[in-house]
């Protein structure tokens, strides 16, 4: 049956397939990266790639927008299964184990030829390399990395009688500040929430931060164990839920990732937690002065790293892989890492990228951009497991169930832990 179809299909294929017009002398490679409307990221990436192509006329890069992070992962796996993977893709740090398990990525070590290459790889901040290493190998190059930051509306602070220059430093202060910042109209409708954190798309990422501040992790370094039902994690989720349910200073229910910054910009939320990747966008759009600081602590300070790394695909032709490695080295070079950070708000991942003249000038003009660096000492590796999408869904569901009040934190996290153990069982030796 499938043979007959194959014949028919190739016939149709000949008629309809578009054949890409690549000149034979060039190496042509596909580069998938996740991008969304909102920031000018597309243009920035394209501009950088254009410069790379100019410097390497024998390489042609097809940059492909591939949707959200999970969609990008799906598309990469799909393409790999179909036997035509992109040479390189930007995917979340979280997905490393999945990519290793699926056997679709090649270790970066394979491409390190010179001392200079090795020095380049050693130049990344250790916090951003944690999620690249497994089994003694390096699987990814840090690229659009981020962390969570705490933003506030200075005008709202003034109106509430708070010092607009100082944000809350711990959980208790978050509650105190947010209580003052929650504004109601005459009929009791809330017109401005005190504080917000997003709970769709990647709720587990936000929970990681609260857990870290409470001295706990969501999982271990092997990607086979989760600690969802540890008391510290339960407390952390309870604190998050209490903001909405007990103190009534956060919008009840689940808060959409995409509208959270919009709420802030519209003046409907006085303080928000969101990715540092949003800094430039918020700075440019806000009609009021903004304050930005590292995450308030509880037992200690803590914040997750997030964002994406560059992976080189195992099944891409060798000359494409070499070209992809060149591209990775270019995009994560000192100069470009610093330029990328300046233009997008993503965190510069190399110590030397913070010392370029361009970065120094930028920090002088826009000191808030340096805030994420202040958080480096408190960063924790991103929670990452085998079969990450499924484990992530289990913890995300639990978080949402607690935030909407349908389950207690303890009950929901216990169920999520059991589910995660079931999923991870095949990976434990």
């Amino acid at each position: 049956m499938r043979k007959v179809l194959k014949g028919m299909a190739s016939l149709l294929g000949a008629t309809f397939l578009t054949i890409s017009a690549a000149s034979s002398a060039q190496v042509e490679l596909d580069f998938y990266y996740p991008v969304a409307v909102g920031g000018p990221i597309t243009k920035i990436v394209e501009d950088m790639i254009g410069r790379f192509e100019q410097a390497n006329p024998d390489i042609k890069v097809n940059a492909v927008y591939s949707g959200t992070n999970p969609e990008t992962l799906s598309k990469v796996l799909t393409a790999s299964r179909a036997g035509k993977p992109p040479a390189m893709a930007v995917m979340t740090a979280l997905d490393m184990y999945t990519l290793v398990d699926e056997d679709v990525i090649a270790p970066i070590d394979d491409f390190l030829k010179t001392e200079e290459d090795k020095a380049w790889l050693a130049g990344f901040e250790p916090a951003f390399m944690w999620n690249s290493q497994h089994d003694g190998k390096t699987w990814a190059v840090p690229f659009q990395r981020s962390t969570t930051l705490f933003y506030w509306n200075k005008d709202a602070f003034k109106a509430a009688g708070l010092d607009p220059e100082v944000g809350p430093q711990n959980w208790q202060e978050i509650i105190d500040f947010a209580t003052k910042l929650t504004v109601k109209d005459a009929s009791g409708n809330v017109t401005q929430w005190g504080v917000q954190a997003p709970s769709t798309l990647v709720p587990y990422w936000i929970l990681q931060g609260y857990a870290a501040q409470n001295g706990a992790r969501l999982g271990d370094e092997t990607g086979t164990k989760t600690y969802f039902d540890k008391p510290e994690v339960v407390e952390a989720l309870q604190f998050w839920a209490d903001l909405g349910q007990k103190y009534k200073v956060m919008k009840p229910g689940v808060i959409e990732w995409a509208t959270n910054p919009k709420d802030f910009l519209e003046g409907r939320a006085a303080m928000i937690t969101t990715t540092s990747g949003n800094l430039t966008n918020i700075k440019n759009t806000a009609k009021f002065p903004i304050g930005v600081q590292i995450m308030p602590g509880h037992k200690q300070r803590g914040a997750p790293t997030g964002g994406s790394n560059m992976y080189i695909m195992k099944d891409a032709p060798a000359e494409q892989q070499e070209a992809a490695f060149k591209l990775a080295k270019f995009l994560a070079s000192t100069e470009l890492a610093s330029e990328w950070s300046i233009k997008t708000g993503y965190v510069a991942t190399r110590a030397d990228a913070w010392e370029t003249d361009a970065m120094k000038a930028y920090l002088k003009e826009f000191p808030l951009a340096g805030v994420s660096r202040e958080q480096f000492p408190y960063l924790i590796p991103e929670f990452s497991t085998h079969d990450s999408q499924r484990v992530q869904r289990a913890i995300d569901d639990a978080i949402q169930a607690v935030l909407v009040g349908s389950k207690s934190a303890e009950e929901a996290l216990k169920a999520a832990q059991q589910e995660a153990e079931r999923i991870l069982k095949p990976y434990q030796d």
């Binding site: 179809l5 409307v37 990747g277």
Partner: protein
């Protein structure tokens, strides 16, 4: 032709009549509101997304930004190729099958017709997991052909054309045969011309279905060179960095523009075609 079919039923008093009329207008307005809002945000800058001001300056900037943020020209081309392929195949395949069902008697005809109708209920979307495996084993994942494959034959099209062909007078068929025409010639010279309005109706329904179809193309494509408009729009609106409604509205209008303009220009024909396609 849609006519005023003024109900001559008298009865209830004027007040409740007026109330009904107002209700009817409210319903229409409610239905139009989302669309009107899309037009509003698409043509105004971000600050008027939430604030309505009749004198807000109109701008095309959202369209420009949207157009430059994603390769929409390529997406249009992909959608166009997809629709051309699907429609061409459907017209040929369904015509041949419908002709066989309408004109011939052969053993197993009823069972075969029933097996065709199965696709009416078990639509390709329900079988995406297995169809994906088929596309993968054919090496067709991420091609325009794969996006069209499950839709190349349509039970609905076969059913519709069979009903139409069955109404063709036998005399016309006989006359053509006496003149020495073979079955294919009879089909092309007698049946197909008589069914022209049904073809147009079916074509419109099929085009708008595939123009708007998301799920299967989303599953089976992953690059700019194959992605149709709907998937392009989905990728484009994925909100990692916060959303800009104006740009999304502009993109939404842009991607549905050909259908929208076609509909506004040929509204009556459009509605009638859909009506014809629906009458069993």
């Amino acid at each position: 032709m849609i006519q005023a079919n003024a109900s001559p039923i008298a009865g209830t008093n004027g007040a409740s009549r007026a109330l009904e009329t107002v209700g009817a207008y409210m319903l229409a307005l409610l239905w139009a509101l989302p669309f009107l809002y899309v037009v509003w945000t698409a043509f105004h800058s971000a600050e008027y997304e939430v604030n309505f001001n009749l004198f807000a300056p109109i701008t095309l900037e959202n369209f420009v930004t949207a157009w430059h943020s994603a390769p929409f020209a390529r997406y249009f081309l992909n959608t166009f190729m997809l629709i051309t392929m699907v429609l061409a195949s459907q017209l040929v395949v369904c015509t041949l099958a419908a002709y066989a069902f309408a004109k011939y008697d052969f053993p197993g005809k009823t069972i075969l017709f029933f097996l065709v109708l199965v696709q009416l209920m078990i639509m390709p979307e329900a079988l995406m997991v297995e169809n994906y495996a088929t596309a993968a084993s054919l090496g067709l994942v991420d091609t325009i052909v794969a996006m069209g494959l499950p839709y190349l034959a349509s039970a609905f099209g076969i059913f519709l054309l069979r009903q139409t062909f069955m109404t063709v007078p036998k005399e016309l068929d006989d006359a053509a045969r006496i003149e020495g025409a073979g079955p294919l010639k009879i089909l092309l010279k007698v049946y197909v011309p008589l069914a022209k309005p049904v073809y147009i109706a079916y074509g419109l329904v099929s085009v708008s279905y595939h123009w708007n179809n998301l799920l299967w193309p989303l599953v089976v494509t992953n690059s700019v060179t194959t992605r149709p408009l709907t998937v392009g729009l989905q990728v484009f609106s994925s909100p990692d960095q916060g959303v800009q409604w104006g740009i999304i509205s502009a993109a939404a209008l842009m991607t549905s523009a050909p259908l929208l303009i076609g509909f506004l220009l040929f509204q009556r024909q459009f509605v009638q075609s859909f009506m014809r396609a629906g009458i069993k």
